[in-house]
Symmetry: C2
Subunit: 202 residues, 2 copies
DNA sequence: TTATTTTCTGAACACCATTCAGTATGTTTG
DNA sequence: CAAACATACTGAATGGTGTTCAGAAAATAA
């Protein structure tokens, strides 16, 4: 019978309704300031209903993160598709930094926020894995073609990701104030990631 | 008269009493889980009293951050004092990463946590400046002696700091799960920072 | 139509940061 | 010494938070 299938669909729809309302409010006001009550208000349900679809606020965050990682992956796919793997690597770096600067709240959700109940190890580790692999694949090609001054893919990926993430997250937490002021942030961050890639290539 | 001076002293003492109790609890339970009530309980005062010394919870955080930055600076001074600036740079990187891994909650306080009311631009920007300068000075010496493959001190400092911060903060947020498992974290992070410094030098 | 299952509600619970009228303590003045 | 004043402190109250759960409502099955 099709009823249970429709119900299944409706359940997913409602879950998405909650998720997209949550995402919107997370981006507008931040995760901390977005309460379950406010989300419930926005979608015109009672607070309790949200707990029928999500175990707790963290669980909701994880799902929103998943969407966010897909957004970043899409950005890579459209903006970092140069044939030359080294140039593609450069594009990946620039895309990453731009993404972070243009979507600060989203970036926060993905990488910086600590969900209160964050000790569960096994779950959610797949969040962001395909996105990370986009970088790994690119580096693998670079290294295979002997274009880099490093030869350990995993190590190189970690290092590259760290530069990019470091730049974005330091900026997002206003930790770049220690640097000389009156400079265009996005220019500096782009210079930094560019010169890093240049260090990396032979 | 010495009375007002004693009072001044007592005021500072109490402020430090609050601050050190707060720091201890922040490190044990994290910033979010440490409530003003609990701090007040620990020092056997009422919650209201804390607001006589600190405008709000953020203000307390900033003061604790200040102490924390001094701790990192001390670590630099004792563990990164090689005469050769390049070797010192390596020591700085390693010290930074070790510091982050060994004091995760402290690191969180310093760099990752977003204080709820965090829009005030001007204040607190001096927090951490001397510590950053320790890196800048080292890089300046490296560049003066023409030992690096970069020549913009500010840019280079930003990049180096980003690598180190990126490594630590990604690890602290369990974002390294996307990498192949069963590896010694601190080894990998140290390899990453070491190979970065090697990229940097001529 | 009635019984059963599913979905939803909203009050209640135990917390939180913060405020402020009132109390207690210490200091200065008459 | 006592009264006046200034300072330090209290703790209940305000308005928020995430989460739970008995009971109401709606949808489905019999």
């Amino acid at each position: 019978m099709g009823i249970s299938e429709r119900k299944e669909r409706e359940k997913l729809d409602k879950k998405q309704l909650i998720r997209s309302a949550a995402m919107k409010m997370f981006l507008e006001d931040g995760y901390a300031k977005t309460s379950i009550r406010k989300i419930a208000d926005a979608i015109e349900y009672s607070p309790g209903t949200i707990y029928l679809y999500y175990k707790d606020k963290d669980e909701l965050l994880y799902d929103v993160q998943h969407d966010a990682f897909n957004q970043l992956l899409e950005a890579f796919k459209t903006k970092a598709k140069h044939k030359d793997p080294v140039k593609r690597l450069m594009q990946i770096g620039q895309t990453y930094v731009s993404f972070g600067l243009q979507n600060p709240e989203l970036y926060d959700l993905m990488f910086i926020i600590r969900a209160p109940t964050n000790v569960d190890e096994e779950l959610h580790k797949d969040n962001g894995e395909p996105t990370f692999d986009y970088l790994v694949d690119c580096l693998k090609e670079c290294i295979d073609k002997d274009l880099l001054r490093m030869n350990d893919v995993q190590l190189c990926a970690l290092q590259t990701w760290s530069v990019a993430h470091g730049l974005v997250s330091l900026d997002l937490r206003c930790r770049l104030k220690v640097m000389s002021a009156d400079i265009d942030k996005s220019k500096v961050l782009n210079s930094a990631i560019e010169s890093y890639v240049k260090l990396l290539i032979k």
